[in-house]
Symmetry: C2
Subunit: 337 residues, 2 copies
């Protein structure tokens, strides 16, 4: 029998319809991705630096900006959705049609010079460098007072919204706090007002105590498949210390996160045979970096199913796998690695 | 330059990044769908009635239930996400993990016996029969007092979440009012309290007056690509009369809707070369069928782009086509048809 569950952070319902599910091995991707170490037309490959806008940051062993010698390279997105060159001026017809010029930053973090060295296959050190780059760019861009929220994310594969194979993530800084974020904040604020506690700390502690949805626990981090997962193998990585801002991560926490992230992504890669996925860093709006009612975290969504008309019409997601079962599978793989 | 726009019904922002766009003809689907008029393994084809659960409704020219002779057939979804056989009993651990047994109805409306006669290719009469079937099922299922909201939708193609080609739509009746719906209602209530008017009537009137995003207007219906469209060619069909419940449609309005729907779907089919799409009927919750602040309507989403990490992380959609441009293209095609 299926079950409806309410997400305590959004109040949105999901339907856990695990009997509709394929067996776990049927979630495995069937076709192998074509991989080659270099592509002459890839704008992110070594030697093709002139294909991209000028870099804004790099970690390099040698060379000058925009030439080979880099390990990680950050460039403005050539097809940026937003531009820092404009003022976020609002237009308003008085009632219904509110607009704003498309101010913002849209950057690409090229994670490696190697075309086929994808994140789940990288070493801890390589992942650590990427996380440090995220933190560096975050800290710099939040200084622009027009920026209200910074979203760092990673799309991998066609089903996750990208056809660019070369390992990369993206950063978008927007001049508004989206309703999507506001809504979660309102729920968390109400919980805080009612109980005096942080909803996300309570949730992490409850998942830890329940245990069956926990994938991995280390000194600083808890990884679990949440009670009201929207999709099979939805994975949250949450710090065990209350902290609302991603960039507040300490130099002790960061290397451990690199290790956790490597193990989780490698586990998903092994279990699901290199699935398409999205990874998102959820961090507080810039003006709310020290809030007592939110904990920043990472969410990973393997794209194994497609949200359709029902999800669009109701906001209710049908999840064909129980998070208790997927957590068990991933926990076993991660423990064995 | 891109532009941010706020959806007046949800307060969510979208980014209209039309310069990122492909040219209109690049939205056209490249590969042709394989079509055949009958499939021996298709559970919805004529003569295969025994592959489905027993029908709950049919429009038939001859024959007895669950045998050939039907034109439209309604059956419970064999892989139903929800079941009417259970009581929507709530479980609650006191705070964070709220659940409910998976009560609900999940039906499939098999729109035609012909495997390859898809909705955009049907006659007005065939579409009228489908709309009448929707209305009939809606009216019946809303009598179950456990039902709070009925969502009727249609998925077409892999990118829209289905691999079943045989023309069909679905109905899901849920025992909750989802937050997704509540939130829109709160915005509409605020607008009503502030102005004394219905937000959706104001929006329809404003789109009609502005005109550039209007695709088609008839005596009873207005079709437009909304100001804050989330995706290219997002199309709304809205009644010109205030009515919050889909099933309140009169016998005068219904045939005209069949005509409008045929012209719009045929136009999208021609312009985009048989695109995958979702179609959703947004109607008020059962207990709110006569509300003064909501207008039921149909939304159509051709699935031409894939929401990715940024959308998941921010709720802000990047739309690579301006609704003014797509409305112009569709308007021309529809006018010529």
């Amino acid at each position: 029998m299926s079950e409806m569950r309410q997400d305590p952070t959004t109040k949105e319902w999901v339907i856990i319809a695990a009997e509709r599910s394929r067996r776990p091995d049927e979630f495995r991707q069937q076709s192998k991705r074509e991989r080659k170490s270099y592509s002459v037309t890839c704008p992110f490959c070594l030697g093709n630096e002139h294909f991209t806008p000028l870099e804004t940051f790099a970690i390099r062993d040698s060379g000058s900006p925009n030439t080979p010698g880099w390990r990680i390279r950050v460039v403005p997105n050539k097809f940026a959705a937003l531009s820092p060159q404009v003022i976020p001026r609002r237009s308003d017809d008085g009632l219904l049609f509110r607009g704003m010029e498309g101010f913002g930053y849209h950057e690409v973090i090229i994670e490696t010079p190697h075309h086929d060295r994808d994140l789940p296959l990288m070493s801890e050190d390589e992942i650590l460098n990427i996380l440090e780059t995220y933190r560096h760019r975050y800290k710099l861009l939040r200084e622009d007072e027009r920026v209200k929220l910074i979203v760092i994310f990673r799309n991998y594969g066609e089903r996750a919204g990208t056809s660019l194979l070369h390992p990369h993530s993206q950063l978008v800084a927007v001049p508004v706090i989206p309703f999507h974020t506001r809504q979660k904040y309102e729920e968390a604020t109400r919980h805080y007002d009612d109980t005096g506690r942080c909803l996300y700390c309570d949730l992490r502690n409850a998942e830890r105590e329940y245990g069956k949805r926990v994938v991995l626990e280390t000194g600083h981090w808890l990884v679990f498949h949440p009670f009201a997962s929207q999709a099979p193998f939805e994975t949250w990585i949450v710090p065990k210390r209350h902290a609302s801002c991603f960039a507040s991560m300490t130099n002790a926490e960061l290397p451990e996160l690199a290790s956790v992230l490597r193990r989780i992504l490698h586990g998903l890669h092994t279990l699901l045979n290199d699935p398409d996925f999205n990874m998102i860093i959820h961090t507080a709006p810039v003006e709310d970096e020290n809030t007592p009612y939110f904990v920043w975290h990472i969410e990973i969504y393997p794209r194994l199913t497609t949200p359709a008309g029902f999800e669009l019409g109701s906001g209710i997601f049908i999840n064909v796998a129980a998070p208790e079962e997927t957590a068990h599978l991933l926990r076993e793989i991660v423990a064995a690695s």
